[in-house]
């Protein structure tokens, strides 16, 4: 589990990059430092001592530069270098996966790129950012249902002969309505013809009687109109069916669209988190860099001091001065004033 920036701020001990205090003082440390510094001066010759201090100061500067890049440990506290801090900044600014869950149970998640292996070549490669959109079981069921309905509707629309069958169906229904009246008229005509003794008339001109021809023409006209109406109705219904199918298909994507809307609405929060993350990473870097800079300055000062001391010692060695209390007391009071 990665440690967040807030945790590192509020609980420095949890900062994996912090192993101790930065810039703290310690008497025991001072003593060691002085022992190490004065030893050569006190126990060596003055020339050799001054040169040694100058070299020590020089080496310290070199170490400080190296520590600025690679980091160091101060008082058991690991002080990261610029390299580590860059790495830390990179890690801290790394994309944080997040998940959005809607009120209806749908989820939207984004995973950072991961190292993957090509199953064919065996080469490793970095995957892209993976975003997943998930629906709740209810939404998924609804989507499947609508999708199936849309599929069925489209199949009905595109079914071969479907229009013709529907035309026939509509035609039959229209004719069923018309046939009752036609039958009444037919019966009335039959009764009239029967009363006139003309039921059995067959003529080359009319087929039957003129009245029968007129009725047949009316019936055929009605049939023609019914056929045309059936065709128009079937085509309209086909279009309507296509629209319904399209609507069903569109409706089947509504849960997904709504999830996307939710995700878009929730984008603010990962952005805020990202901004905070980036800000924290920046702050971290800047803070750490300021510490490094302070230490560098301090170390520079100490090196300058040592270099000055060394230069002074070397200068004093080659310039005779009045001695009152001896060198020991001189160095003692001097160092005591300096390090107090």
């Amino acid at each position: 589990m990665a440690t967040t920036f807030e945790e590192m701020v509020t609980n420095p001990a949890s900062n994996p990059y912090t192993t101790g205090t930065v810039g703290g003082s310690s008497s025991s440390g001072i003593g060691n430092f002085l022992g190490g510094l004065l030893g050569p001066l006190i126990g060596g010759a003055s020339i050799a001592g001054g040169s040694a201090l100058t070299k020590s100061a020089y080496d310290r500067l070199g170490d400080i530069g190296e520590q600025a890049v690679l980091g160091t440990t101060v008082g058991d506290q690991r002080i990261p270098g610029a390299l580590e801090m860059a790495q830390s900044a990179l890690d801290l600014s790394q994309f944080r996966p997040f998940t959005v869950t809607s009120a209806t149970g749908g989820t939207f998640g984004v995973k950072p790129p991961t190292m993957m292996t090509d199953p064919v070549t065996g080469q490793q490669f970095m995957s892209g950012t993976e975003a997943t959109l998930g629906l709740s079981p209810e939404e998924l069921a609804l989507q499947k249902s609508l999708f199936a309905d849309a599929t069925t509707a489209f199949q009905d629309v595109l079914q071969e002969g479907g229009t013709a069958a529907r035309e026939q169906g509509v035609y039959d229904r229209i004719r069923a309505v018309q046939e009752a009246e036609e039958q009444r008229r037919q019966l009335a005509l039959e009764e009239r013809l029967a009363s006139q003794g003309r039921l059995g008339v067959t003529s080359a001109m009319y087929g039957g009687t003129p009245e029968q021809l007129a009725l047949s023409q009316a019936q055929e006209t009605a049939k023609n109109q019914a056929a045309l109406m059936a065709m128009e109705q079937a085509q309209a219904e086909q279009l309507q069916q296509a629209n319904i199918a399209g609507s069903l298909l569109g409706a089947s994507y509504i849960p997904q669209a709504q999830m996307i809307n939710v995700q878009q609405a929730a984008q603010l929060f990962p952005q805020l988190q990202q901004q905070a993350q980036l800000f924290g990473a920046g702050q971290y870097g800047e803070t750490m860099m300021s510490g490094l800079e302070a230490r560098l300055i301090a170390e520079q000062a100490r090196a300058n001091l040592l270099g000055g001391i060394g230069s002074g010692i070397l200068g004093g060695m080659f310039s005779p001065v009045k001695t009152d209390t001896g060198i020991g007391s001189l160095f003692g009071s001097l160092l005591g004033d300096i390090f107090g």
């Binding site: 029967a194 003794g197 059995g200 009687t209």
Partner: protein, 506 residues
């Protein structure tokens, strides 16, 4: 004490024709019990009919058969052909019968119906392809061979009518209710134009029937069934024609008995002779029964009828002849007027071999017999005599309960040149009659414009014979009669005076 003679004067005896339906003793003495080979002449007397003057001299084609049909074809150009049928042939001519049957056309029946239509003669017989004759065709031709014709076996019909600009046919071998009509003015085209058909099987007013005859009358198409009549109006437009009247219970049993007498249509039903006008007016009430006075007698004869009847209407002779070849009998209905009961005066011509009749435009009545074609003229049947007979109804002299003793019979007879007259009388309906014979004088009448008048000599008029014959016997009801052979001279009975003594009451 001597009794005065009672007289019954039978003026114009049998003036009302035969009456076999009413009681003999209650009958009007103007009726006759028997009036054979008689007509009612122009003076209202009972007279002998005319005979059959055969004009055919060569009838080889006819063989031993008789003439079943006679038809006069004429067209607008004045062409005329007399067609006759018999011996399974179609013949032309009158003096010499010539076979006009189309080649490769086999006939096994002679019940043709021949009609003229639009300068063509059409021959129809059930089950046979119709034949056509016209002056342009020049010969009797199968209908299918006529250019532009269209006919199927449905039109191989029994009955045909030319009317309203079309041919109408009905009665093929399988159907007797579908009437087919041809295209307008095209009697051999039954499939195109305005041709058509009507099935009248559902139009009968009283159940099922079959069409026996068709007639055109007064702008109506009359469809006769055996027991029903349908009258269609507007037949000029057959597809739109509609029933205007129906008659149930009366029909026509023989298509050859239909005669249009100008103001009415006569036809033979199964219960006698009927007229369409009266039938329609009275809805088949018995008043329209034109043969009521011989109804039972006629129905009895019709029950024996197996071959087609024949008929002719002759306005020149004022009669309608109904021939029943099966019975060798002809009923002669006098159309001058009707009796009180609505019937026509009727006489009978028994024992004649008149098989067919026809009347041409000149008014000549043709008679078809085994001898060929003859005309209704002269006073013998192909040089053979026939018997003219009269028998009165029962005479009671006003009191049937008293005995009558006949003393004299004094007939007044016109004509009968040198004929033997046999007077008869009988009592109480006995079939055994007393007879007395006498001969009338000799006188061959020559009339203006006829026979010898223009040639050699003429007479002053008909011979009138008055004889007084003494009678014997007695009885309560007296029947008198007269008969003579007619052989070349007409004879008519003007009057018969019967004198009797009235005896005691029985």
């Amino acid at each position: 004490m001597a009794q005065p003679l009672q007289s019954i004067n039978l003026v114009a005896p049998a003036f009302k024709g035969i009456n076999t339906e009413d009681s003999p003793i209650a009958q009007d003495t103007s009726f006759a019990e028997v009036a054979d080979n008689a007509i009612i002449d122009r003076q209202g007397r009972l007279a002998s009919r005319q005979g059959n003057s055969v004009i055919t001299t060569t009838k080889t084609v006819l063989g031993t058969d008789y003439i079943h049909n006679i038809h006069e074809f004429y067209d607008s150009a004045g062409n005329e052909v007399i067609f006759s049928t018999g011996n399974n042939k179609i013949m032309t001519g009158t003096t010499t019968l010539v076979d006009a049957t189309p080649g490769s056309y086999t006939i096994t029946a002679n019940d043709w119906k021949i009609v003229n239509f639009n300068d063509h003669a059409y021959f129809f017989q059930r089950g046979y392809e119709p034949l056509v004759y016209s002056n342009s065709l020049g010969a009797v031709t199968k209908m299918t061979a006529v250019s532009g014709s269209s006919v199927t076996s449905s039109q191989y019909c029994h009955e045909a009518l030319a009317g309203f600009g079309r041919m109408w046919v009905v009665g093929n071998t399988t159907n007797d209710t579908i009437i087919y009509w041809s295209d307008l003015l095209d009697g051999d085209d039954f499939s195109g134009g305005s041709s058509g058909s009507i099935d009248v099987s559902k139009a009968w007013p009283a159940g099922a029937d079959k069409v026996t005859a068709l007639a055109a009358h007064n702008g109506f198409l009359v469809v006769f069934g055996e027991h029903s009549i349908l009258v269609y109006g507007n037949p000029e437009s057959p597809a739109s024609m509609a029933l205007t009247d129906t008659v149930a219970g009366v029909g026509c049993i023989d298509r050859k008995t239909i005669q249009n007498i100008g103001t009415d249509l006569l036809f033979l039903s199964d219960d006698g002779l009927r007229s369409l006008g009266r039938v329609i007016q009275e809805k088949s009430l018995p008043l329209s029964d034109l043969s009521r006075n011989v109804k039972q007698d006629l129905i009895g004869k019709l029950s024996l009828k197996t071959s087609p009847a024949t008929s002719v209407y002759s306005p020149e002779n004022y009669f309608y002849l109904l021939g029943l070849p099966d019975s060798n009998l002809v009923y002669c209905f006098d159309l001058r007027g009707r009796l009180e009961n609505g019937s026509f005066r009727v006489t009978k011509w028994p024992s004649v071999n008149f098989k067919s009749f026809a009347r041409d435009r000149n008014g000549d009545v043709y008679i078809g017999t085994v001898d060929g074609i003859g005309t209704y003229s002269g006073y013998d049947d192909n040089n053979s005599s026939f018997v003219f007979r009269y028998t009165s109804p029962g005479l009671t002299f006003g009191d049937p309960s008293k005995i009558k003793i006949l003393k004299k019979i004094r007939p007044t007879i016109i004509g009968g040149n040198d004929s033997d007259i046999v007077l008869s009388w009988a009592y109480d309906f006995s079939i055994q009659a007393n007879t007395s014979r006498f001969r009338v004088g000799t006188s061959t009448p020559g009339f203006y414009g006829e026979s010898e008048y223009t040639a050699v000599e003429f007479t002053l008029g008909d011979l009138i014979s008055r004889k007084s014959l003494n009678c014997t016997g007695n009885g309560s009801v007296v029947t008198v009669g007269l008969q003579t052979e007619v052989n070349g001279n007409s004879i008519s009975l003007q009057e018969m005076n019967v004198l009797a003594l009235i005896g005691k009451t029985l």
